[in-house]
């Protein structure tokens, strides 16, 4: 007590400088603490967003400001066959990978939720596909899918499943399947580890009690685990949908949008048009075309989180 009394008097003897007094006010302190964040996010998110919208209604190219053209860019891309393919691909890619990532991730999470030797070790290794730079690991996949030197072809051939070579990345449908496989590979660890964290909050006593009452394993999963896990599942799925919908790296490395522009997503096509050919405003329009879907998902997520918080 004596020590604090001393420090009290020393503090009071020297009148606090103006700056210190301002920081004693909760609102000023909050303002000071938030300024760096607001400046950075304003400069590099809010401002580019507005610039993007302005860009998409002009005819700018690299090094040329361009004139106001209204919605001509959007009109042009909606009549562009490649853009339509990209839209279709993006929805297909997001839908298919999300279903597989959820199913496989949940399965893996349930496997990891048991006690076995080397559990911590296994969990650490399982996350590797998610940790390692996606571009770099995607190159390993590209090499595995190589038409001439493919180890997958070797494997399938020696298992007796194929007789000739499969040109994985040369055929539009197979290329799409290959890309989907890589995305699932990258996303399963994220789903598994997040869902595992959710599973660990569910008391095993609930399942045990149901088992005593005669509930079968499948019934226990469907009536106990699944509903209790649903909040976590929802958030994980929505996060993953946003990331997958706006994905760029896997397609850029695996196919570059080819063969013959058949595997483009929004982002890769926007890159090809905006940066590759320098049609800045058209590229910005393609990027912005993602916005309505992303906006919808974000709204769902916000509403959902609020509802969970209120409960």
């Amino acid at each position: 007590m004596a020590i604090s009394a001393v420090s009290d008097t020393t503090l009071r003897e020297a009148p606090p400088p103006r700056r210190r007094r301002l920081l004693e006010d909760e609102r000023w302190l909050a303002f000071v603490l938030l300024v760096p964040t607001i400046v950075l996010l304003g400069m590099f998110i809010a401002y580019p967003f507005i610039r993007g919208i302005l860009l998409s209604v002009t005819s700018s190219r690299v090094g040329m400001p361009g004139d106001f053209v209204g919605l001509a860019n959007f009109h042009k891309i909606f009549n562009d066959g490649i853009f339509r393919t990209a839209v279709y691909n993006t929805f297909l890619y997001t839908g298919v990978t999300t279903v597989f990532k959820l199913a496989l991730g949940l399965w893996l999470a349930m496997l990891l939720n048991r006690n076995f030797r080397g559990k911590a070790f296994t969990r650490a290794f399982i996350l590797l596909p998610f940790i390692i730079p996606t571009v770099l690991s995607t190159f390993a996949w590209k090499w595995m899918f190589d038409p001439t030197f493919s180890v997958l072809n070797w494997l399938l051939y020696h298992l007796g499943l194929i007789t000739g070579r499969i040109n994985w990345l040369g055929d539009p449908d197979l290329a799409m399947i290959s890309i989907i496989i890589v995305n699932i590979w990258r996303g399963v660890p994220f789903f598994a580890i997040s869902l595992l964290a959710g599973l660990q909050t569910i008391s095993p006593e609930l399942s045990e009690a149901a088992a005593i009452d005669g509930a079968k394993p499948w019934q226990r999963f469907w009536h106990i685990t699944w509903p209790l896990l649903l909040p976590v599942t929802m958030v994980v799925v929505l996060f993953s949908v946003i990331q997958t919908f706006a994905d760029f790296q896997i397609v850029y490395v695996m196919t570059g949008g080819g063969p013959a522009n058949a595997t483009h997503l929004f982002a890769t096509y926007a890159y090809q048009i905006g940066i590759g050919t320098g049609l800045l405003s058209e590229g910005a329009a393609i990027s912005l075309a993602m916005f309505p879907v992303l906006f919808l998902v974000v709204i769902i997520q916000l509403l959902y989180i609020r509802r969970v918080e209120v409960r």
Partner: protein
């Protein structure tokens, strides 16, 4: 049976590409480019391991500079994001001020903005600020996706610190600023570690901004350098490519292995909401 078989299959599926990376990067070219259907070809092992590909990376390419660039950019942007995220998280979770709620929601929304939505206008802005082709173009833009995550995570940790702890310090004469710096923030150090390791891996892995904002080979980061400098037209140098992929992954894997628990806490905290 129903445990070990699926578990083994999962591990095989998830880890095989890394094995393939390792084996390719030490395999001589003569073995590498043997068609998959040629006879007595064993793709899974090599008896003549070589360091040629690694040597090529360091002697013939700028790989060492890419590694340094990536490390510097990742550390700097992580540091900026941590400072901003800790401050913002503290303000949003423990202080009362007007518009706190809507500001929190705003930051959460920026958390969900993917880089691919804004990269074209951002490239123009970077050019206008004369930041193009410098590490600062990335050090200043990476925080846009790191700060929201750090803030979000730190809010969770700060909320768990009891108010009494801070009030005691203030009764003993500490200012608000001191109470925050010396009482609340130290309690939340596990959260800072989690946010830091997560932010570090995210900025190490970032690709599209680095691809668009950097143009000269000596400025590039590992993911971009490997993508653009190890491929000549249609020719892929698979040995050096895989060696580069492997060596570019090792630093982040090491950082991760030291902080696995913190990383998992960050990952699950980031989606918990």
């Amino acid at each position: 049976m129903f445990f070990y078989v699926p578990m083994a299959l999962f591990l095989l599926f998830l880890l095989f590409p890394f094995y393939w990376m390792v084996i390719t990067s030490v395999r001589p070219d003569g073995e590498l480019y043997r068609p998959w259907n040629s006879s007595n070809y064993n793709p899974f092992w090599t008896w003549k391991p070589t360091w040629d590909h690694v040597r090529y990376l360091f002697e013939e390419t700028l790989f060492a500079s890419w590694l340094w660039n990536t490390t510097f950019i990742a550390l700097a942007s992580t540091a900026i994001s941590l400072v901003c995220g800790v401050f913002a998280g503290y303000a949003l979770s423990r202080l009362n001020f007007p518009f706190a709620g809507s500001l929190g929601t705003g930051i959460f929304i920026t958390y969900l903005v993917p880089q691919t939505l804004l990269f074209i206008p951002l490239a123009e802005i970077i050019r206008n600020y004369r930041l193009g082709d410098t590490p600062w173009s990335l050090i200043l833009t990476y925080p846009t996706f790191l700060i929201p995550f750090c803030t979000w995570l730190m809010m969770g940790y700060f909320k768990a610190v009891p108010k009494e702890l801070e009030e005691c310090a203030r009764i003993d004469g500490a200012s608000r600023w001191q109470a925050m710096l010396y009482i609340v923030i130290p309690v939340a150090i596990p959260g800072i570690l989690s946010a830091g390791i997560f932010a570090f891996t995210l900025s190490w892995n970032e690709f599209i901004y680095a691809l668009v904002f950097l143009s000269s080979p000596e400025q590039k980061t590992v993911p971009v350098g490997v993508t653009s400098e190890l491929i000549r037209g249609d020719v892929f140098y698979w040995g050096p490519l895989m060696a580069g992929a492997l060596l570019g992954s090792i630093p982040v894997a090491i950082a991760y292995s030291f902080f696995v628990e913190h990383y998992v806490a960050g990952l699950t905290g980031s989606v918990k909401g």
